[in-house]
Amino acid sequence: MATKRTLLKEIITNRILFIMLLPTIAFFLINSYVPMVGVYYAFTKFDFKRSLFNSEFVGLQNFEFLWKSGILTKLTLNTLGYNLAFIIIGNVLAIVTAILLSELRIKWFKKLTQSIMFLPYFISFVILSVIVYNVFSYENGFLNTLLKSLSIEPVDVYNTPWAWVILIVLFYIWKNLGYSMIIYLAAITGISDEYYEAAKIDGANIFQRTWYITVPMLKPTFVVLLLFALGSIMKGQFDLFYQLIGNNGVLYNATDILDTYVYRSLKVTFDIGMASSAGLYQSLFGFVLVVTVNYIIRKVNEDYALF
């Protein structure tokens, strides 16, 4: 354990490490921290003729459109709900497939299936929405043509909000499974064989080995993915919702999230202030959540905590 040192002393002792970290620090300063002054836009009235800090300060006025809509709570809950489903189901499935895949013995099969599972990642939501429409459209979609040929009443999926709760989660996972699976697969590759050998000698079967060795070893990776996902829990996946649901107001109660709402509200007017205020709301939410969760993780096991 290193002893406490002053910053200067630390820089001198670990100068090479500092130099190695320098590009990263510079990158985030330029790319992220300096532009962060823009947060102030959230509190001003945008003016083409005046600069940011000379613009009129309007307090929380830009936030009004969020709570005046009367649906902020609903949007927040929807966004939270979907993201939690994405995180939990997505990670569980990614871990399961990664474990199963790592145990496959037939090499070509293993490699081929891995590659194929990555394919959906390349299909943009624009394209996906076209496919989905072709499957579910009422008059001549895949599904209803099938149902009709079996003499079953056709179903109107695009008028059934609850169905989309499931479908959206499904499509999200479908698209991202390959991506998150790889992370776990790489982590499994990194687990030393010695553990398994030892367990085998102790008489543990493959299920036990998986449960008592592999799964615990994946925890740090899971925590990283979790904390990153939590930080942006109010944001993201705009394209998924926007492309699949689009203008279909019938489904909004079940499928509208903060991002889609903000997009629609600001499409017609360019109000930098309002856009910034929405972003700030999302950030604050994620910030509080992450700091809390990280604190809990730190209590449980310091090594797993992010910071």
Binding site: L21, M36, L104, R105, F118
Partner: protein
């Protein structure tokens, strides 16, 4: 005892093969639809929708994409360039950062981790960042602007940090230090060698991000011969969306240039193609036992 274990293993494997096979089919099916649609005559798509086998076979989708082949080739070139340069540079910085941040004797590692992570939480929005890029760094219409913003993401750095931490035992670093190796040498000679699966993964993600990026081209590139492939294609698709959204009252009319459904699908295929070949290359590193041997040898 032994027999029982084999029984379990057999059961496990049959579950594994079944689940993976099902998942694979689910992933493959829509992709085949897209391929099929890309070879279907446009009128047929509009009228009859998608089918696993084209109802009316046609190459018109591809013909339209390739009507100016030099554009596509150019865009391919730009994308390959930015992807390769960006991924290599990004990997260098990310592995260095990941290595430093996991060193237990680096006292401020948590502070710096937070410094990096914090940027995922708060952002100043598009406008100040845009001003930074165009006005202060003067990066409009440069290759730098296509590479720089994507070099690092907090996620990949932290991921790398974790990969290195689990792949490189502290004792190895300690003993190397005792042997007189400096910090950079440890990174270069030991850490890089030991964390190949992690590097392969992060490298793949970086490459994917560069390959799929259209946003930077959209914002910062005016010269058509500097468009990235994804933007070139995405823009064509967007033009359709734009026209759908413009009411007759705007008077906007783009005549015969409107791209078609089959074109969209052909583009999806063209954009996917090459990167799919990258993955098997990365797969090589997902083999157990490879890493330890590399260092011992």
């Amino acid at each position: 005892m032994k027999i029982k274990d084999e029984k379990y293993t057999g059961l496990f494997h049959s579950i594994a093969y079944t689940v993976i096979l099902l998942a694979t089919i689910a992933c493959l099916f829509p992709f085949i639809l897209v391929i099929s649609a890309s070879f279907t005559q446009n009128d047929s798509i509009v009228k009859d929708g998608f089918h696993l086998i084209p109802k009316v076979f046609s190459l018109e989708g591809y013909r339209l994409v390739f009507r100016f082949p030099e554009h596509i080739l150019n865009a391919y070139g730009v994308t390959v360039l930015t992807t390769v340069v960006g991924t290599l540079l990004g990997l260098l910085f990310i592995t260095m950062a990941g290595y430093v941040l996991q060193r237990k004797d680096f006292q401020y590692r948590n502070a710096f981790s937070f410094f990096i992570y914090f940027t995922t939480l708060f952002g100043g929005g598009l406008v100040p960042w845009y001003i930074m890029m165009t006005k202060y760094l003067n990066l409009m219409d440069t290759y730098t602007v296509l590479i720089f913003p994507g070099l690092m993401t907090p996620f990949l750095i932290i991921l790398m940090k974790n990969f290195i931490r689990s792949a490189v035992p502290d004792e190895i670093i300690e003993s190397a230090k005792i042997d007189g190796a400096n910090d950079f040498k440890i990174y270069y000679r030991i850490v890089l060698q030991l964390s190949m699966p992690g590097i392969a993964t992060v490298g793949l993600f970086l490459a994917l991000a560069y390959w799929n990026d259209w946003f930077l081209s959209s914002l910062f590139i005016n010269k058509q011969d500097m468009y990235q492939l994804q933007f070139y294609l995405y823009n064509v698709i967007n033009t359709i969306q734009f026209i759908t959204q413009m009411g007759a009252g705007t008077g906007v009319s783009l005549g015969g240039d409107i791209p078609t459904e089959s074109t969209k699908m052909a583009m999806a295929i063209i954009a996917t193609g090459p990167i799919v070949f990258l993955y098997p290359f990365v797969q090589r590193y997902f083999v157990k036992g490879l890493t330890i041997g590399a260092v011992k040898g």
